[in-house]
Symmetry: C2
Subunit: 373 residues, 2 copies
């Protein structure tokens, strides 16, 4: 039993059965005119985040999407169309649909092309926030493929030597198939931390380490409430300036913005809108699928990556009390645990998603397994 | 006139004319049985690094390659062969040839495939250290393509929560074509700093910031000489532990190791050898070329990326005395400058490469433009 994040304090959380949570989320979205199949995709992606210990991207975001539909920014029945394609590439117009649906479909297209030809690259415009990037990389790993998934996102980060929120946290996920679970899954924002972590520290009344966030004037902040109330910004991976490689993190955010925004015709930088803004967000994604078997026989690759995992797990630890983790391993173990003992949901969040359903006439059928985490 | 790095102190350097430097380096390699065309590729890559202000990867590394040939680890007349291929992918065996030649040829293959089909992925095994990754990304940008280039490298970094040198600085370069120079070129190691920076601080007798390097026991070091003499290790981008995202930098190094090493059949982690070791280095590379025009019309992309560059350059600066840089811009300006006023070469390095030539009976024809930098 392992959980990447501990619900603290436990009495503020309940444990819910994940299938019932997923089904409920799908019902809520269906009631907003989202086709059943699409509602299930979104519900799967949101609940996967909760299962994997990435609660910031889980069902607590449900309202973001329902409001997006209600204000008209998200089209619940969007047509996803291929604007241009070759045997190995496609440019997709997401029609301002739910980002999860658009991304899921885009990866299906990428996988199909890679299966027939070896490698594929798919760009997406007119999409929305798609939740956790890793979910779509895992679509590829299930097919014996390497999946690379990027998205741009609303600007929350200050590009190196600048102030203000001017570039997204632009995450990248890369997944590799493995013989034994867990698959190797790297999934990270290109900022030092996600904004959710600042929110968590604010809630817990803790200071943040100097080097996570900047004031609008360019001062390092240690009060997380100031970051949130004064539109402070996050620092790129590598931190402030160039001394510890902040320009590398900012550079990664920039290349992801070019691939997802510039190359596809989507928005970029501070022009990327939030899901609940009235204007279309026009988020862009970029995905690559590589059929392993076209490069090395899949069985050789699977043998080799197991050896590589052993190599990493066997490295000399810095102290006895620590653990060496393969990317994706913590999330996988957390998922296994939570499928058994339930997903911890904060009572306020549970109330919020219950109310969302009530407003829409959807019966609350989430099974509570335990009244505390 | 701009230079990314200043030759300090100037009196220890000379300025040399870059074409004569390149030709001389090619002559030296030719005299070691490297075919003329291959010798020119290596010379171009090395001198490009000096022109771009990445001296750590410039002609000061010439001896590394000549020794590699002399000890038999590098095969000067290697056959580069395609082990497996599809319309969009290839696995290449570099035959333990010079990494620059292998990488250059691999990118040529990637470009050809991408031109006919849209996107390509090429893995390489049995190669050697290839110098600056960005050089090969620029091969793609010259053809209106996006070039993505990765390599693994000798282990110098400690994976998060471990000690010792156990994973490479594994760099990644991504280049985009632009209407106006410079092309956008991101090129960065996934460690906080390259080992060359530690060497520079040691030479200058300066302390390094806490957070760059680790002792073999896992203590943060501030004496660069200790890093070098006691086989200390570099920290991944994001630094020590997980607080500032060190696991993200380590995760990036790991996915590059999997793509370059595990997927291709090359070595990985601490099994990657140095160019001058007796054993074959078996370095692996991984490259992707994307033909922009297959996704968005090249002319639209070129218009859009110029606007994007303007967007970034126009961001609010943190102070009046600073500059906001596009990835690759500093290197490009440095190259323009050095093509005019000469490449600064440390007098000891000049002596070293002169001696290399003398041993091999190659006349020293490097034109010295100025006896100081």
């Amino acid at each position: 039993m392992y959980e990447k994040t501990s619900p603290v304090p436990p009495e503020e959380f309940v444990r819910v059965e994940w299938v019932s949570l997923r089904d409920y989320v799908a019902e809520v979205l269906s009631s907003l005119n989202v086709p059943r199949e699409h509602a299930e995709i979104v519900a799967n992606v949101l609940v996967a985040a909760d299962l994997m210990g990435i609660e910031s991207h889980g069902v607590q975001r449900l309202r973001r999407y329902t409001v997006g539909i209600q204000v008209g920014s998200v089209n619940p029945r969007a047509e996803i169309s291929i604007v241009k394609e070759t045997a190995s590439t496609a440019l997709i117009d997401g029609g301002s649909g739910l980002g999860q649906v658009v991304a899921y479909k885009a990866m299906e297209i990428a996988i199909e092309k890679a299966k027939s030809i070896g490698v594929s690259a798919v760009g997406v415009k007119n999409s929305h926030h798609f939740g956790i990037a890793g979910y779509y990389a895992l679509q590829a790993t299930k097919m014996g493929m390497i999946g690379i998934v990027m998205t741009n996102s609303e600007a929350l980060v200050s590009y190196t030597h600048t102030v203000g929120r001017n570039i997204g946290t632009n995450p990248i996920a890369v997944g590799f198939p493995t013989k034994e679970p867990p698959p190797v899954l790297f999934d990270a924002a290109t900022s030092v931390v996600p904004i959710g972590k600042i929110e968590l520290y604010a809630k817990e009344g803790k200071k943040i380490p100097l080097g996570w966030a900047l004031s609008p004037e360019g001062k390092l902040l240690e009060d997380p409430r100031e970051v949130l109330s004064r539109r402070g910004s996050l620092l790129p991976l590598g931190g402030f300036g160039e001394e510890f490689g902040g320009h590398k993190g900012a550079g990664l955010a920039l290349i992801i913005d070019v691939l997802c925004g510039v190359l596809t015709g989507a928005n970029y930088g501070m022009y990327v809108k939030h899901t609940t803004d009235k204007e279309k967000a026009n988020v862009g994604h970029f995905m690559i699928a590589i059929d392993v078997d076209k490069i090395l026989s899949l069985s050789s690759f699977l043998d080799r990556i197991e050896k590589y995992k052993e190599y990493i797990k066997g490295l000399r630890k810095i102290s006895e009390n620590t653990e060496v983790w393969i990317p994706g391993e913590k999330a996988w173990l957390t998922m296994e645990t939570r499928k058994k003992i339930g997903v911890p949901i904060h009572k306020n969040i549970l109330k919020e998603i219950r109310e969302e359903g009530e407003k829409l006439g959807v019966e609350f059928k989430v099974k509570i397994l335990k009244e505390t985490a």
